[in-house]
């Protein structure tokens, strides 16, 4: 017996008059999360970084590979952030080096989400034997350190962007699958799934039509986390020399190239570090805000 307060969202929100348009849940979550400062700040910051990465090349005063002065020169009118280990303009390289990290981390995270969710849905709706087989396979994958795993394949096949995306995505799969399987199993036991089963709806249809919409919010939060992880992994791979290859500009690579001059020309390292940190931080803020809103909305849509 529930009594007392009307839920914050939901029933109370229903106006008796005409012209009422019901709001889908994801919209309510989006609106709700926009009330949080962390989400506003995060979205703004993430948008700035993405914008920088996208239109940066057009704004760069120099070519990313052109020499603008002596190596490790301090900030000057010519090069506002100084020059790097080879005497190229740091500002231009920062403006040019964002695209790779941004698109690769987004692509890797998306790929990992799709793969992980697929395995989770199959595992969560199968007989225990199949479920166990899939999830133990995921555990094996989880046991391999991400960096070693990717480096292994990159050493074999050569450093290619798509390969990095693929490998980092695969490395995400077990984590995503574990999260998604948990919620899938929970949803599978609910009566509306049993109701669909009783109608004879095919399993694929049940998974797509009944289960997936109910796990989409935790998945959105997981996606945010995966992006942050991807940024770190891809920047780390570039730093180690297994990602983007010189002379291309890339934030992760720049940190590696210029770390020897950290004492004389710190900007060459600090600028790309700040960019990576800002992007990761921004995505994290949004994720955190979404997670909080989801928790609040879920509470009010139950019962």
């Amino acid at each position: 017996m529930t009594s007392g307060l009307a839920p914050v969202l939901g029933e109370a929100q229903r106006a008796p008059g005409a012209g009422f348009k019901p709001v889908p849940l994801w919209m309510r979550i989006l609106r709700g999360s926009l009330h949080l400062w962390r989400v506003r700040i995060g979205l703004t910051l993430a948008a700035l970084v993405v914008l920088l990465a996208l239109i940066g090349p057009a704004l760069a005063p120099h070519s990313a590979s052109a020499f603008a002065g002596i190596p490790f020169a301090g900030p000057s009118a010519q090069a506002p952030l100084g020059t790097d280990a080879l005497g190229r303009d740091v500002l231009s390289r920062v403006l040019d080096g964002g695209r790779t990290v941004v698109w690769m981390s987004l692509a890797a995270a998306s790929f990992g989400m799709v793969l992980g969710t697929f395995f989770a849905l199959v595992a969560g709706s199968s007989r225990p034997l199949v479920d166990d087989a899939i999830m133990r396979m995921m555990d094996v994958l989880l046991a391999l350190p991400v960096i070693i795993f990717t480096i292994l394949f990159i050493s074999l096949l050569g450093p290619k962007d798509w390969l990095v995306v693929l490998l980092v995505g695969i490395a995400h799969t077990p984590q995503v699958a574990r999260t998604a399987r948990g919620v899938t199993v929970e949803v599978m036991q609910r009566d509306f799934v049993r109701a669909a089963q009783a109608l004879g709806v095919a399993r694929r249809q049940i998974l797509i039509g009944e289960v997936l919409p109910n796990i989409i919010t935790p998945l959105a939060v997981e996606f945010g986390l995966r992006i942050v992880w991807s940024i770190a992994a891809i920047a780390a791979l570039s730093f180690l020399g297994y990602g983007i290859q010189p002379p291309a500009a890339d934030w992760g690579l720049m940190i590696n190239e210029n770390r020897t001059g950290l004492a004389t020309q710190p900007w060459a390292v600090i600028a790309p570090v700040l960019c990576i940190a800002a992007f990761a931080f921004a995505v994290n803020l949004v994720t955190e805000g979404l997670a909080r809103t989801v928790a609040g909305v879920d509470r009010s849509t139950r019962s």
Partner: protein, 594 residues
């Protein structure tokens, strides 16, 4: 001298809306005062106010609460805390949630003493734990005291929480729906314990419930709440025999009773929530006896007898009126057997939960499947629908044997048998609109076009008494009763022949239950549907079923015509069940445990 007095209490939620306003009550020693009302009436809010507590978001903004001599709302937090448990104790609805699952019950009981009285010796503590357990009729063996909560049955758990509440000999006990979710037999035992506690220890009890039959059994006086206000108050006998408020009358008309078969009278509209309350009498939009005066201004409290008051302009008139409760017409059942489940034996894992049970349903017949929790009634109904596959025996639909798994059954069989789940909060996909939910079976069974879907959904919603506009809403924007109607609509679009209703009203308020039961009865008459009505509520069985099948521990113990089973039960289990079912017609006949 009253144990507890509340004077013009007001509890607000953010926005200045009130959940409860201007509420006053008084409880004397050894008295049981029932606080009865439907969801959202503010009964739980008043219950927790007695402990000077308001749930998060709510605030007690006005009024006084006096326990003995102490005005508790004026106390600081620490003395308030000291009162809780010692002077005023609380028994929650969900014992499983109230007990710590990882601490032995003996320790949990001792902790209550330790919290309030530091200097009690171990031996004394132990002695008091034992005496409290004895008071609630639990064994006091070492083995029992060192059990964990999960090793107890639901009834035993609830008795442990009662023991926890009385162990410090409080003056007032607040019980919030303590028997909701328990079997009738367990409920009868708990009620007897409450009675004993009042008699032997002079404890005053504020009993919060939505169940009028329980009120009649247990309470000395009753307060009927509507939208956070007192609608009527008085001695139980007076209120039940001559209700002076139309709402009380309507509630009594909505409750099914085991002693007589009658139509359940629905209350039109729905309860006014904070923020959507009308002017004048809050009940007037739903009231069949309203006059112009009811629509604005203050409502007087009219005295109808010693201590019997009703807040209604026409209280005297209402008290004299005889509510109409026509006996429902009963359709003759068909001769042909529509559905037959024979010799069903089913198991969950390795445990056999159903032993050799058979069930036949004729055309246009309503068969009630009765039993307490764990009796196997849900398992049997899920075997019939094909969701529980691990059984032996046969399910036959119109002479055609069906496969045990729903996936292997032909489309037509899946369509003909429809299942309505217990909780409407769980059986509708929260991420789909009502329209999409109702359209799903249409797509599966009839491959309808877009336009047909639209028309089919509209038609189905209207048949269950919902506005077609609701198709665009999500389930969480609907009330519990509306949701259950949606699940009925989802079953109806299949054009079923048998509808299996699994405890479909147990999560709903009585007035909503009345509406759902009448809806099902109407559908049965209109469409010649057969019903399998799974329930633990014998009063409902009396009101809807033609035939009863009683299950106990997975075995069929009795079956037969409703009237003959309920009036002259042969099996001792059925007899016990009937005796334990409280009735709004019967004066409290529970004997205190000695």
């Amino acid at each position: 001298m009253a144990v507890a007095t509340i004077n013009s209490l007001r509890v607000e939620i953010p926005g200045g809306l009130d959940v409860v306003d201007g509420l006053s009550l008084e409880i004397g020693p050894g008295e049981v005062l029932a606080l009865v009302g439907e969801s959202g009436s503010g009964k739980t809010t008043i219950g927790t106010s007695m402990l000077a507590h308001a749930r998060s978001g709510a605030r007690i903004t006005d009024g006084t609460i006096t326990i003995g001599e102490t005005e508790i709302l004026e106390l600081a937090a620490e003395p308030q805390r000291a009162l809780r448990g010692k002077t005023i104790a609380y028994v929650p609805q969900e014992p499983a949630a109230a007990l710590n699952p990882s601490i032995r019950i003996g320790r949990q009981l001792e902790e209550v003493i330790f919290d309030h009285e530091r200097h009690v010796s171990r031996a004394q503590r132990r002695a008091r734990v034992e005496s409290a357990l004895r008071d609630v009729g639990l064994p006091v063996t070492d083995e029992f005291i060192s059990r964990y909560p999960h090793q107890l049955s639901g009834g035993q758990q609830q008795r442990v929480t009662i023991a926890m509440a009385i162990i410090l000999a409080p003056r007032l006990l607040v019980m919030d729906e303590p028997t909701t979710g328990l079997d009738v037999t367990t409920q009868a035992r708990i009620l007897a314990i409450v009675r004993t506690l009042c008699r032997d220890h002079g404890i005053a009890v504020l009993y919060v419930t939505h169940d009028l039959a329980v009120v009649r059994e247990i309470a000395d006086r009753v307060i009927v709440l509507y939208a956070g206000r007192v609608a009527e108050s008085g001695p139980v006998e007076d209120v039940f025999q001559q209700p002076g408020h139309p709402y009380t009358q309507a509630l009594l008309g909505a409750v099914p009773d085991i002693s007589e078969r009658a139509s359940l009278v629905q209350i039109p509209g729905r309860a006014a929530r904070p923020g959507e309350r009308p002017s004048g009498c809050f009940f007037h939009p739903r009231c069949p006896m309203r006059i112009e005066r009811c629509e604005s201004g203050e409502v007087p409290t009219i005295r109808l007898g010693t201590a019997h008051h009703a807040c209604c302009h026409r209280a005297e008139r209402v008290a004299q009126s005889e509510p109409r409760r026509p006996a429902p017409t009963r359709l003759p059942k068909g001769a042909e057997v529509l559905l037959a489940a024979s010799r069903i034996t089913a198991s969950h894992g390795r445990t056999e939960v159903l032993h050799d049970v058979s069930l036949t349903v004729h055309e246009r017949e309503c068969v009630a499947l009765v039993g307490e929790s764990g009796s196997g009634k849900t398992t049997l109904s899920q075997c019939i629908i094909g969701l529980h596959e691990r059984y032996t025996g046969t399910v036959v639909l119109r002479d055609r044997p069906l496969a045990s798994s729903v996936r292997e059954r032909p489309k037509d069989a899946r369509r003909a048998i429809q299942y309505i789940f217990q909780s409407p909060y769980n059986s509708l996909n929260p991420r789909r609109t009502v329209g999409e939910i109702v359209a799903l079976p249409l797509r599966v069974f009839f491959g309808s076009s877009h336009r047909e879907l639209h028309a089919g959904v509209r038609d189905a919603l209207e048949r269950v008494g919902l506005s077609a506009a609701l198709a665009a809403y999500y389930p969480d924007q609907l009330s519990g009763g509306e949701r259950q109607r949606v699940s009925i609509a989802r079953a109806l679009v299949c054009r079923p022949e048998v509808l299996i209703c699994d405890e479909v009203t147990s999560a709903l308020d009585v007035s909503v239950q009345a509406a759902i039961v009448e809806l099902l009865r109407g559908l049965q008459a209109e469409n010649g549907l057969s019903l399998v009505f799974v329930t633990h509520n014998l009063a409902l069985v009396r009101n809807i079923a033609d035939e009863v099948v009683v299950l106990a521990d997975g075995r069929l113990v009795e079956r037969g015509d409703t009237a003959s089973v309920l009036d002259a039960p042969r099996d001792p289990y059925t007899k016990q069940l009937i005796a334990d079912t409280p009735s709004i017609k019967r004066v409290g006949d529970i004997t205190p445990v000695s």
